[in-house]
């Protein structure tokens, strides 16, 4: 099979199904991947990562569920889309923005490949902690809750994330001697219960205004290229953050957009542009230094090593140029997959949306069970779902993005602050 096609197919699945990310997909596709060369494996991975970002925005914008973890901002803003035209614009704008972000990053990497080694300076504890704290600070000021509610949500996210055993500090927090709690609360369950469920409940019974001007539907919406370029830059550097990559890209760009615009369409496009830029830059530490910064990259590295990849003998320049060209191709394909869906918005809304939301809620329950099964801990996932879902329902009128963000970054933030104190000698 063509590596492009396999990667694109995997990206479609990864983007559409919450909880099934690139890591799980790579494990499932393992038997098929062993026959590919190093460059083909990279093309598959890049295709999958990029297409999942293109596609993940569709369920986020239309139905308010994050197909990809990086689609939180799109989910958040989707409930402010009041017309079919806005929904359509968001989809086409995201498709064009994503393609812009991906192609610009690929193009710049292609021409500045000899300077890419400079990204090693990005991996500074001071910079990482500074970035994380800045995003938290901006969230307090900009997320549409009262400022003290945002602070409470940030503290709650940090506390919930801290439950379990911290291997960095060799300490435990609120485990009560229960084995399952040592690994902390499952990310998928927290995201479903404390982010997806409040969003969905908030969207039930909210009518979409039907616009008469159908000519607008599906028409290409392209955001100001200057905004797109800045989103791309933010997304590029966000993609380099270990463990967070595209999530950090989209949330950072989204936070910056909150300072400049109140338009939900623009905010969605900005964040979706950023996460596609990050989908490529996250590969740089792996290719430059042999360091995987997320789980799926570790699997990729292993597969590549089976095919003779060695960072010492790897011809980075020529291989990376070939990969950049592949990325441009993949982004064009992504654009032509995602953009036509903006013409289908009216079809989406012919469905009984309330009924659909209830179906999605039930599906999320089964996704919880499935991911629990994949992690060999279904009972624990079920208990967490039972406990957290009512809290999610209670928070249906609150924007829980600060809570979810700090839950995801808690270890980077806590460990980073500790490491910074070591470096500064305080």
């Amino acid at each position: 099979m063509e590596p492009y096609l396999l990667g694109i197919g995997m990206g479609l699945v990864s983007g559409l199904i919450p909880g099934v990310g690139n890591f799980v997909l790579l494990l499932l596709a393992w038997p098929f991947l062993y026959n590919f060369s190093v460059m083909e494996l990279l093309i598959i991975y890049v295709s999958m990562a990029s297409i999942s970002q293109f596609i993940g925005s569709i369920p986020a914008i239309v139905f308010g569920i994050p197909g990809e973890s990086s689609s939180f901002p799109a989910v958040q803003e989707s409930k402010r889309l009041n017309t079919i035209e806005e929904v359509s614009k968001s989809i086409s704008g995201s498709a064009f923005g994503s393609a812009f972000g991906g192609i610009v990053v690929a193009g710049l990497c292609f021409y500045f490949v000899q300077y890419l080694d400079l990204i090693k300076h990005f991996y500074s504890t001071k910079l990482l902690v500074g970035l994380l704290l800045t995003v938290c600070f901006v969230m307090v000021l900009t997320i549409d809750n009262k400022w003290w509610v945002n602070i409470l949500l940030i503290i709650s996210g940090l506390l919930l994330g801290s439950i379990g055993y911290n291997s960095y500090l060799n300490t435990e927090f609120l485990t009560f001697g229960i084995n399952s709690l040592w690994s902390g609360l499952p990310l998928t369950v927290v995201l479903i219960c404390l982010f997806a469920i409040p969003q969905i409940l908030n969207n039930i019974n909210v009518p979409i205004k039907r616009l008469g001007n159908c000519f607008e539907i599906g028409k290409a919406y392209i955001l100001n290229p200057i905004y797109l370029f800045f989103s791309t830059v933010i997304g590029f550097f966000g993609g380099l953050v270990p463990g967070l990559t595209t999530v950090f890209s989209s949330i950072s760009a989204y936070n910056v957009s909150l300072l400049f615009t109140n338009n939900p369409v623009k905010r969605i496009v900005v964040s979706e542009t950023a996460n596609n830029a990050g989908a490529f830059s996250m590969l740089l530490p792996l290719l430059l230094f042999g360091i995987p910064i997320i789980g799926s990259e570790a699997i990729l590295l292993f597969l590549m090593e089976q095919k003779g990849f060695s960072i010492v003998s790897w011809d980075f320049t020529s291989s990376f140029r070939e990969l950049s060209i592949s990325l441009i191709y993949v982004n064009i394909v992504g654009l032509f997959i995602a953009w036509p869906l903006s013409k289908c918005v009216t079809m989406f809304y012919k469905i009984n949306l309330n009924m659909l939301m209830y179906i999605i809620l039930v599906s999320l329950f089964f996704i919880t069970l499935y991911t629990g099964h994949l992690n060999y801990n279904m009972g624990y996932y079920l208990i967490c779902f039972t406990l957290l879902a009512p809290i999610g329902a209670f928070l249906r009128n609150v924007n829980t993005l600060p809570l979810v963000f700090t839950f995801i970054v808690h270890d980077k933030l806590i460990d980073g602050v500790y490491r910074l104190s070591q470096i500064l000698g305080v």
């Binding site: 890591f23 062993y34 090693k120 300076h121 991996y123 500074s124 504890t125 379990g164 055993y165 291997s167 960095y168 500090l169 060799n170 435990e172 485990t175 084995n179 399952s180 040592w182 690994s183 270990p242 530490p285 430059l288 230094f289 042999g290 360091i291 995987p292 910064i293 789980g295 990259e297 570790a298 699997i299 590295l301 292993f302 090593e305 089976q306 003779g308 060695s310 960072i311 010492v312 992690n375 060999y376 801990n377 624990y380 460990d415 500790y418 490491r419 070591q422 470096i423 000698g425």
Partner: protein, 281 residues
């Protein structure tokens, strides 16, 4: 139709005959244990029905999953995990509950951006935990040489590697597999193998300071298997290590990055293991 039936019968008979084996990774999803577990899952698949279980967390792997697995299990375990566990972290494992088939000794190398760790004080990158064996090594180095090194803890070897490459720290304590990559990334960094192999690594013996364990021991254990099956798995593992084309052979650069012993007696394993765990506590 007849051919399909024959193929089906063959497949059925093969799956019925092959022994099942669960490979349980007790390390993180991005580290060396994960890579090796994945490699074994591929190499041993011709002879066994392999299930790879990779939770990415030793607390979950040993606390939750291992007790639920009835069949044969192949699992890695490290002396520093055990040392931290005995000091109160989530799990410990008595290696005598299974059979240790592979025993690895991995010295830690000192990579330097130019300074001499026994004279020039600076920031020293090491891997987790913050109060673990490597942090104590740095403390003992300060006691031994009168230096004032500051330990800086990183989440994994990859992060520690980057820290010395970008100059955030002056030294990094790394395993052999990582040293070549560091030198390739920045030729001014010196990872003195001889220093680790015969200098600092032999410090406990030469200085009489038994608080310094400048390396790690790791074991691969087979659990819930009789001696015949244990030997079969062990032989298959050894064959694959000697085969440079195998997955584990590729990962270990044709077995050159590992220092594995396959012939240790139970007494030798226990003696080496307990000594290493004790010095790391």
């Amino acid at each position: 139709m007849k051919n399909y039936l024959i193929i089906g019968a063959l497949l059925f008979s093969t799956s019925a005959v092959a022994d099942s084996l669960t490979i349980l990774n007790s390390g993180s999803k991005t580290g060396g244990f994960s890579m090796q577990s994945t490699a074994y899952s591929q190499d041993l698949a011709d002879e066994f029905n392999i299930t790879l279980v990779n939770p990415g967390d030793r607390c979950v792997a040993l606390g939750n999953l291992l007790p639920k697995i009835d069949g044969p299990v192949l699992m890695p375990w490290a002396s520093d995990y055990e040392a931290v566990g005995r000091d109160g972290a989530c799990v410990t494992y008595d290696i005598n509950q299974g059979t240790v088939v592979r025993y690895d000794t991995s010295p830690v190398y000192v990579c330097s951006r130019g300074g001499d760790i026994s004279k020039d004080s600076g920031k020293v990158a090491h891997t987790v935990p913050a109060n673990g064996p490597l942090a104590r090594v740095i403390s003992e180095l300060n006691n031994e040489f009168g230096t004032t090194h500051t330990p800086v803890v990183y989440d994994g070897s990859g992060d520690a590697r980057l820290a010395i490459i970008n100059g955030e720290v002056d030294y990094a304590l790394l395993s052999k597999k990582h040293t070549g990559i560091v030198i390739e990334a920045d030729s001014t960094i010196n990872c003195d193998v001889s220093l680790a192999a015969s200098g600092l690594n032999s410090l406990p013996a030469s200085s009489g300071n038994d608080k310094i364990a400048f390396g790690f021991d790791t074991v691969w254990i087979i659990i819930n298997a009789d001696s015949d099956l244990t030997n079969k798995i062990k032989m298959s593992m050894m064959e694959n290590h000697l085969n440079c084309e195998s997955a584990i052979g590729t990962w270990s650069k044709c077995n050159t990055t590992l220092n594995s012993r396959w012939d240790l007696t139970t007494e030798e394993v226990n003696k080496n293991w307990e000594t290493m765990v004790a010095t790391q506590r």
